[in-house]
Chain length 350, copies 4
């Protein structure tokens, strides 16, 4: 299959290329970047050195339509609205890695992004790209929107709790921690190594945009509107997310029951690992042991004193949180084995 990548100079675009160059079923035919037209990919994405001698092109819709069967768009939020529409309208399958087509509801979009979506009718065409929740729809989709990295990590941990109706849906607190590659490659005072190292920096403790996606997906499962209280924090790693999802039980639930709920929902999922051990180095989910892979690791702990259930989930924000999910979605859309191009064990220790 011939694939293109629009906007491949950032960290997500780089990860897309890194995965695509070794994917057994695809050929990369077009890679665009406004800033680096004519430049070798590996000048901007050093990991590719030795894997390809391709250069960046300008985005030309005709050429894209001619040369590609499927296109990944990895451009900034806001920029994707037009590009995705144009590619879609030309009959290309599109997998979008921006936030522009994640929310199905234009009012929700307006609320979380602060402007009106220019093509609200396309919001409904887009499938939220989490195969664990929407595999059948993704199979037939023309437009798949990959989820936010923190959003998908939270959603996968909380979904079984909502599905089994065991938590108080008024007090869901999602405390997220994420590495520096999650913020994108933009260089500002706060992303400088000297200022970004050593931080545990809260950003948007209230009203972070990913909240909208989590609420959309959990509400769909619940069949009623659900509010989520999310607070992300930047920590001193490059890759990785941990979501600590604090929930309160609405009835007593044993550990064994919880295992059953998680197993039932995810027993056939090859990118979800349930983590809980009393011994050894890996007792609860931790991005340390996920980095470089497409896994989302999920575990939990029960705080009987407070009827609290802490659901924990860890992922690599550039893999399951972005490019890995995109490949997984492509595999589903294309009838490939879902693990094709994603058979990576975590790189440990790193």
């Amino acid at each position: 299959m011939r694939v293109g990548v629009v906007g491949a100079s950032g960290y997500v675009g780089g990860e897309m290329l890194r995965l695509l160059v070794t994917h057994p079923k695809v050929e990369i035919t077009q890679v665009t970047s406004r800033q680096y037209v004519g430049e070798y990919l590996h000048r901007v994405q050093p990991a590719l050195k030795g894997f390809t001698e391709m250069t960046f092109s300008e985005l030309d819709y005709d050429r894209m339509t001619d040369k590609c069967d499927l296109v990944f768009t990895a451009v900034p939020h806001g920029t994707a609205t037009e590009i995705v529409k144009a590619l879609y309208d030309r009959g290309l399958k599109v997998i979008d890695l921006s936030a522009d087509y994640r929310l199905h509801n234009k009012d929700a979009y307006g609320k979380w992004y602060g402007w009106e979506h220019p093509h609200p009718e396309y919001l409904e065409k887009s499938v939220f790209g989490v195969p664990e929740l929407h595999r059948e729809k993704i199979r037939d989709a023309k437009l798949v929107s990959c989820p936010g990295c923190m959003a998908v990590t939270s959603i996968l941990a909380i979904a079984p709790l909502i599905k089994n109706n065991i938590i108080d849906t008024e007090h869901i607190v999602v405390d997220s921690k994420i590495g520096s590659s999650g913020a994108g490659a933009g260089s500002v005072a706060g992303t400088h190594h000297a200022m970004r190292s050593g931080v545990i920096r809260p950003y948007k403790p209230a009203k972070h945009r990913h909240t909208g996606e989590i609420e959309q997906e959990l509400s769909e499962i619940a069949g009623k509107p659900i509010k989520v209280s999310m607070s992300p924090h930047a920590v001193d790693i490059v890759r990785g997310i941990l979501c600590t999802n604090h929930t309160f039980l609405n009835r007593e639930v044993t550990e064994i029951e919880l295992w059953k709920m998680y197993r039932e929902m995810y027993k056939d999922e090859r990118f979800i690992r349930l983590i809980r051990d009393k011994k050894g180095l890996y007792k609860f989910p931790d991005p340390k042991f996920v980095v470089g892979s497409n896994f989302c690791d999920i575990g939990f702990d029960i705080d009987e004193d407070n009827h609290r259930l802490v659901a924990l989930s860890a992922s690599d924000n550039l893999m399951k949180g972005a490019a890995g999910s995109a490949i997984q979605n492509m595999n589903v859309m294309s009838g490939f084995d879902e693990m094709d191009g994603l058979r990576y064990s975590p790189l440990t220790p790193v």
Copy 2:
């Protein structure tokens, strides 16, 4: 004033010495360590190189009584029970940095530590060493127990909310993040640099011991028992704590009202900085900008959608979270200026 330090080979003991060697009002007369008797302090605590040629002694109660007016005990939890009692019984002023005398109630102690306290009658003699809450009692105390590092950081952020009775006390979620020096100097598989780097590692997501201290102090302020839901996480820094204290408002509160509550409680406190800015590099509390100082930085954000108030607090776990608090307590007990030996600006960037 002549001071001694019992158990000075760990990170907290090292920080005590680091602060004491430049404190203008004290002379260090005895430093003990079971493991390193006869060894130069700077062999074990390299920061001291050039500041002292002292060596470690064995703990000898008679010599301690003879040579010291006040003693800091920085030995492991469990070990301190006897040592503190012995020193106290000989009439020495004691500032304990272990957890052994933090809880006043022996049942609470039994619950959180899993064994019976051998000298429960001393629990009541001990003052919880947070001058911002108990300055008058500390002034006259013979035994002060320094708070847990994550506990004090949380307590200072939540106390004004409890005092002003504006939060739902059934759903207080404390999500803490802490550096590797907080775990002590014990070397095990999980503290090895290769395994500890890059982690966002949940440990004890339910039932962490510091919960007991937070509940004790907040309950005292509230005048009723309060439950706290605490979950700590190890992150990839050496020093520093961020507590994200998620609370739910029981009435509408404006930002300005909140500022007033915090200002009222802490306006004369020299080690508390209120942080909230719309511009610049420092918008919310972050240990990055506290490290090396005795500050506890406090700020907040309001999530109107969910009636949630996120109170944020940051400290250096070895300073305000341990040795800095100990010095501050000593200053109060001894009638020194509370900032003596603690006039450190944060070391930024580091």
Copy 3:
């Protein structure tokens, strides 16, 4: 092919397993560890979670002989001498990752390791496992000894300079920098995250053992004894090595001539990338852009003022520096494609 791993609880053993579980041509049949007999591999090596349900066995030579065609030994230096001999004597192919069979000369062994080798006659049977230098010998070898991580990284950069006889062999200064996984998983005061973070720690600035290997290999190329001045440093990363090989030219050499020398020697090598760019993010070799792959990246700079040639080389110490080389050697010995199981692009950024 059926392979076994002896001593798989450390970082090198873990990396061996990580690579073997996804290698297309091998089946892991035996994994031993003295400390963890009966334990699941993934309890000790969390990256393996989901990839295997194997457990650790005791080392039983009969079972090993029965179940394996080739065995990797990843036990501590000194311990390998007997194990390797025993396996070899039973007719198994052995790839040793310790230092015990790297030096061919027993006097050199005695000098660098401080004790007499118990089986010096096996030193000659062992092939130094660098396919770029000894591919033909490795093809037929029964015993291959993988090189030291810093040694191989240096050797590959300096070899073409020696081969072309362009440097003063009296003043070869190798300044190496390496991450914490290179020191092994032993937990001591100096490997604790709090003590190991932030270091640029010289260790063995003179007489580091890897010097012996570098001298052996370069001397063989030169056809005369060569002395090397090596100084390693521990830096604050987990994986990765940079060797800054400072040499002095014995005649004028242009950049283009140097390129030719490197290209000539390595043009068909798939794990060597020549790095030198005036633009972009990757101008000189840096382990940042090698981590997770089996590449050794090589580049250089010329200091005309001082007739100095700085040859730079970067590798991942657990990959090309250990387990990656071991797999590469196995591929050569077994007639597999040399890239089998090693088609990893660097994980960037991480």
Copy 4:
């Protein structure tokens, strides 16, 4: 004494302010920044929060002359040439932290900086600000130029070897490693946390500008021109420098003789610590144990096989490598105790 700081928005300027706000003998009267006129200092330099309510001013020479006795200039290289001259011409004492007045020889300046110095006659007026070498001249100086951070760290380690004429001056290899704050606060692709973390990045392996300063100072001691081969590397820490100074002995020298040479030269120096231990955590100089202090730690190892002497030196690049040296120079120029405002023990562990 009334002091001003010109250009205080960068890392060096921030460190100047951090030290000045607690210096017992000075009052800060003017702080300028082109970019942040009118802004609170602590918006740009968060460490200052709670220490000052000053704002940034525009640079106005009349006001500067009126309000200050001494001015620190911490502006970029090239920009300082005019500013320093203007302040000097108005009779102010100036301590410059740029590179513009470090070299006394205009040809050397042209060689290393690539342009002609506009005011070469001022190069001779400037004293190279290393009190350990030029204390008497600094006492009477009107213009002191603080040394480059890597330069001073190297010079202090090598000076005694040159003075005692024990090394081959044709083969001095200085391999430096430095943290991210050394590169300044400019935000570009390569300083982004995600790209700068995990690096061991060579930059300017040949012809780095600090070479010029090292050669100037060592040549002055030697009484003959000396060439130095310097190669710096960026490593993944924020603060700190290690210089590994590889030298070759021109005669046999014992360890004891070397100690004597170092002691003789530095015995009264309060910011130089000689480090060499067979036991304990601190065997050789390491910035880990210097960070936050004004120390330059020096040690060595002898490689008899190769007649090599490895002289090691560590400093905090923002302290002894910049602002700490500036304060030390001010103290000397002003007749203060040389340790005033610099009585900081290293912050360990951090």
